[in-house]
């Protein structure tokens, strides 16, 4: 309850005055979580930081459009994933050369390796998620990283709940093929 009222207060400050303190609070409170989500989407840390900054910039400029249909954080997530979608589309048109900071896995090949520890599993899962297409990535990360309900994911991505479920179904089926056997849920 305290968290909700704090975010409401922050939204009010951003809407009404837009003072520097409110922006700083926004960055401190939501920046790290958005950055973590961006890290799961992007192939290098610089791009992840840029995506996080872009998201917060959009949020600040479009704060008047936030209608409290969802939580403030879900709204921020929605911006982040929509920006990521734009980046994907641009990348498809103009393929960039990436020198990945994060490990990558060849497409269509199951990940190999034994379960050494949680970090290895985590890296393995993240790499597998990065192999998904952007629509599937978005629903997987919102659902399993953002721990959102189907309804919340639908609102964040502005798609129907049915589409969310269908994409989740496809994504998990695809991940079952990519992940090593011991990690398949």
């Amino acid at each position: 309850m305290k968290s909700i009222s704090a975010s409401n207060e922050l939204v009010r400050r951003l809407k009404e005055k837009g003072d520097e303190g409110a922006v700083r609070l926004l960055v401190e409170r939501y920046g790290p979580r958005l950055l973590s989500a961006a890290a799961l989407l992007c192939r290098n840390s610089t791009d992840a930081q840029d995506l996080m900054i872009d998201t917060l910039q959009h949020a600040v400029r479009l704060i008047h459009t936030f209608q409290e249909r969802s939580s403030f954080f879900s709204w921020l997530y929605g911006i982040l994933f929509n920006l990521n979608r734009v980046i994907w589309r641009k990348r498809e048109r103009q393929p960039l050369i990436y020198t990945d900071d994060l490990p990558d896995v060849a497409a269509d090949e199951p990940l190999v390796g034994s379960r050494l520890d949680t970090e290895a599993d985590a890296a393995c899962l993240a790499a597998a998620v990065r192999q998904l297409s952007e629509p599937l990535q978005s629903v997987v990360l919102l659902r399993y990283y953002g721990e959102m309900s189907i309804e919340e994911v639908a609102v964040a991505l502005k798609i129907s709940p049915g589409t969310v479920k269908s994409r989740l179904f496809s994504a998990t089926a695809r991940l079952r093929k990519i992940l090593p056997e011991e990690m398949r849920p």
Binding site: R24, S36, T46, A122, E147, E151
Partner: protein
């Protein structure tokens, strides 16, 4: 209930968003269906385990230090300036001075009919009428025209309070932010005339621009170019008579700079849209060239500075961009002003021993070359010398035998070589002698002819490389020599496609080199190649004979006859020198008993 419907409903079941009756229906199906039960259990595990795993995977990233600053700027822009920015951009993109006057008239009509917008439109939206909009209203006072965001070892930094104004920097690095949110990293010495938040003129120095999406259309001018942003990070460098543009992220439209009415800069002919990893180099007196980091070395270099990371170290990013442009010019436009005149910005062509090899041809060229190389004879190709003095085996070298890659060598991709000459007026007959390493032949001409065709080798592909000396001797009726013409020609198998020379022991590419060796040389690689017509190559067998051979011209091929010669096997040291240069290229070849040259150190 079908299994697929049940499984999709499982998501809602876990979310507790099903009605009581629907929940009961799903649970009833799950109890009776092992497949759906497994799905529900798997989804439950995913919901328990994956958030934790993804959380671990996402850990370890830190917020950029200027995060708040960058986000706050978005707020500043959204506070009252948005409309003005949009309108200004609109004006800049759409209107010539003539149409501007028309629009000013339309605005005054609006005032006359009492809409009350006249003041806004004429004062804020059309700053050109009064010279500058950025000093006119209260928002500008609260928000400086240019704000210094970051600086490093700066000296002689001067930032104007109002616009238009000149930003000067003697040395060091500074990052400034314009009201539009555009960030400019300047590397001194630099001089930038900031005309407004969406237009700057780079008089001198290096500039890296990071343009937020709402400021798309931001334009940088140089003497040679107009660079219009399409949402990006890009670098611009200007020296005495050249401009470089390089895109690290997004894209830009590059046009040649033009001058319109009242000396106002206008867009010239378009050069093209440059995406990340591409750019333009423009040198006065030469058409701008679109460059691209499209070969492996350049891609690797670009990878270190691409996207937003360019802004983390602007100096490095700009140096890398310059280096890529230099390498591109060396590679694709050797001998042009694009290489020579850029010495002030980039590194130019160094006078050093190591890089005496041409780099590889782009993929497209290779395929074209393969198509056209059913049979080929060329007067040029690639590599031999070039190893440093360290004695270690050098890295693999890709040899570019494409026509565009050869600076001096004229290349002909056919085995039927057309020979042409001017018949000597005093001659009654002539003799053409063609001498190769494996023998020679002569042809006599008893009447006046000025050309012939020579089939250099019979099979479609030459079986061996060779260097030929051609000598046309003209005789008069008394068989007295009245004139001599000479030419040289080399057959190089590498002309039949890109050859990867791996100068290491057991490398397969070198096993092709048996017997005679064709050594290409090209002093045109040396910056000071003016007086290098007379070169020589010294071949010294370890513990054996030494041979000094004169070379003709600054570039060509030397045929080293090893087959059926007295050289035998062993280790050979080659030294290539040109008069007028101090450097010497050296290489070591080993010839094994089976007649194969194994490697070059």
């Amino acid at each position: 209930m079908k299994c697929k419907d049940c499984q999709l409903a499982c998501y809602d079941l876990i979310d507790r968003s099903l009605s009581t009756s629907a929940e009961a229906e799903v649970m009833a199906h799950v109890r009776g269906c092992p497949q759906c039960r497994a799905f529900l259990e798997a989804e439950g595990r995913r919901m328990r385990v994956w958030p934790r795993l993804l959380g671990v995977a996402a850990k370890g990233m830190s917020l950029p230090p200027d995060a708040s600053e960058r986000v706050f700027h978005a707020l500043e822009v959204s506070r009252g300036d948005g409309l003005r920015h949009r309108m200004m951009r609109w004006r800049e993109n759409r209107f010539s001075p003539a149409s501007f006057r028309w629009l000013a008239f339309a605005a005054s009509v609006l005032v006359a009919v009492g809409l009350g917008l006249g003041t806004c439109l004429t004062k804020d939206c059309f700053p050109g009428a009064k010279g500058n909009a950025w000093t006119e209203n209260a928002a500008d006072v609260a928000m400086p025209a240019i704000r210094v965001v970051n600086q490093k070892r700066t000296q002689g930094l001067d930032v104007p309070r109002t616009l238009p104004g000149l930003v000067t920097l003697e040395s060091g690095e500074v990052v400034v932010r314009l009201q539009t949110g555009v960030e400019l990293a300047l590397v001194g010495p630099a001089k930038v005339d900031v005309q407004n938040g969406l237009r700057v003129y780079l008089e001198q120095g290096q500039l890296l621009a990071r343009v937020p999406h709402w400021a798309t259309g931001f334009t940088v001018w140089t003497r040679e170019l107009e660079i219009r942003d399409l949402g990006t990070v890009f670098g611009v460098q200007v020296c005495e008579d050249a401009s470089d543009v390089f895109v690290f992220k997004g894209s830009v439209q590059v046009n040649e700079a033009g001058f319109g009415e009242w000396g106002r800069k206008t867009s010239g002919p378009g050069v093209g849209v440059c995406a990340a990893g591409e750019g333009v180099r423009a040198v006065s007196g030469e058409s701008p060239a679109k460059i691209a980091a499209d070969w492996p070395e350049a891609k690797r270099m670009f990878g270190t500075v691409q996207a937003g990371r360019a802004f983390h170290n602007p100096s490095k990013a700009l140096k890398t961009a310059s280096r890529i442009a230099d390498l591109w010019a060396e590679r694709y436009r050797p001998g042009s002003n694009l290489v020579a005149k850029k010495a002030g910005i980039g590194n130019g062509i160094p006078l050093e021993k190591t890089p005496w090899a041409r780099t590889s041809a782009p993929q497209q060229e290779v395929s074209d070359m393969n198509k056209s190389s059913v049979a080929a004879i060329v007067s040029a190709a690639a590599v031999v010398a070039g190893a440093g003095s360290s004695g270690a085996t050098s890295a693999p070298i890709q040899v570019d035998t494409s026509p565009g890659g050869s600076q001096h060598w004229h290349m002909v991709f056919t085995r039927d070589v057309a020979l042409r000459w001017d018949w000597n007026a005093a001659a009654t007959h002539a003799e053409l002698e063609i001498s190769g390493m494996d023998g020679s032949f002569t042809t006599n001409f008893t009447s006046v002819v000025s050309n012939c065709q020579w089939r250099a080798f019979s099979p479609d592909m030459p079986s061996a490389e060779d260097v030929y000396d051609l000598k046309m001797t003209f005789y008069n009726g008394s068989d007295v020599v009245v004139g001599v013409l000479t030419s040289r020609l080399a057959v190089v198998t590498a002309a039949f496609g890109r050859t990867v020379v791996v100068p290491a022991t057991a490398a397969s590419a070198w096993t092709k080199v048996r017997g005679n060796v064709v050594i290409p040389y090209d002093a045109g690689w040396v910056a000071a190649d003016a007086g290098v017509a007379n070169g020589r190559i010294v071949i010294a067998k370890a513990g054996g004979m030494t041979q000094t051979n004169a070379l003709s011209g600054a570039a060509g091929h030397f045929g080293w006859k090893l087959k059926n010669s007295d050289w035998g096997c062993g280790t050979f040291n080659l030294a290539l020198t040109f008069r007028g240069t101090e450097s010497e290229w050296d290489a070591t070849l080993m010839r094994s008993a089976d007649g194969t040259i194994l490697g070059v150190r």
